[in-house]
């Protein structure tokens, strides 16, 4: 069982990207499970994914990077024993710190063949987020296997260059891909790099 974490700040396009990747994996006859985490006690993304034909396991009322770490581990073990999927797609809450999440996953009991982390950066809000939440931007870059700059259709080339400069300054050499999850631009390439299909 392999794990794909799709992280990023609130509203960065995680659910939209997850839906596209999930459909690609299902189309390739891969068995998947999806875990949605929200800090609130009422979920919306789970309902949306279910209406779009993707059943979801829910972890609500806290964050999988801290308060619900144990619940996530238990859920992964249940999924492993009951569903035995090829891939588990995890969407942490939009205030999760993926670095903390990945550290806890690597020390967990579920047998994971691989953990791949895609972290989304929201291009139109990047400068605002970098001002208010600078440590989170750094965490998104350093904890990612692939950094995805999303919503590039909503910004100009200069904005993308500035985002790439910030990523370079953080200096961990992660691969960076520009995409638009909404339209599907470059999502095939992202899936190929992240999942290998």
């Amino acid at each position: 069982m392999k794990l794909l974490v799709i992280g990023g700040f609130l509203g960065s396009g995680k659910t939209t990207l997850l839906l596209r990747i999930a459909r690609q994996l299902v189309a390739r006859s891969l068995k998947i499970a999806v875990i949605e985490n929200e800090i609130g006690t009422v979920g919306l993304d789970n309902q949306y994914l279910a209406l779009e034909g993707i059943p979801v396991q829910e972890l609500y009322g806290g964050c999988v990077c801290c308060t619900l770490t144990g619940s996530l581990q238990a859920m992964l073990q249940r999924i492993e024993s009951s569903l035995a999927p090829d891939w588990v797609l995890v969407e942490p809450s939009g205030v999760a710190t993926p670095g903390d999440l990945v550290a806890s996953l690597r020390s967990g009991a579920a047998t994971l063949e691989a953990i791949t982390v895609i972290n989304l950066l929201d291009a139109p809000r990047f400068e605002a987020l970098a001002t208010v939440l600078e440590p989170m931007i750094e965490d998104y870059v350093t904890s990612a296997d692939i950094v995805a700059i999303n919503k590039i259709d909503e910004v100009d080339e200069a904005a993308i260059v500035r985002i790439r400069q910030v990523i370079e300054r953080i200096g961990v050499g992660r691969p960076v891909l520009e995409l638009c999850a909404e339209s599907g631009l470059n999502v095939d390439e992202l899936t190929r790099r992240a999942v290998g299909v």
């Binding site: 509203g11 960065s12 609130g40 209406l51 801290c66 205030v95 440590p135 965490d139």
Partner: protein, 131 residues
Amino acid sequence: MTAPHGRFVAYTGRWRIVLASTSDGDGAIAALRSLLVNVLAGLTDAGGPLIGHIKLLADAGAAGHVAMSVTRYDEVPRPKGELRGVPRALDLTLAVIVMDTRHDDLARIVENALPKELNPEWVGDTTGERQ
């Protein structure tokens, strides 16, 4: 690093919407778009520096479903999905997460933002929660 949950305030609500028999899917989507625009307008006055997200999902069963979200004050809501024909009723879920805003203000903004033509009936199992 500590996740900055403490600076965010969340409000989630669920409503049952019984539509007028003359209201078609496009009219319902327009009213839902107004809801998001109204929440944005309210937050412009009372909200913090950053919107986490404002999301809604309206499920009309066999008539389809529509989702919308905004993350910026200047963003125009773009519906995803469709409501076919003349939907009779919708299950509406609205989720708002904003930074540095009083919870009471957020709850009031959402309640005032609901367009009257939707005749919303509150069915939510939470009236808002502070994170």
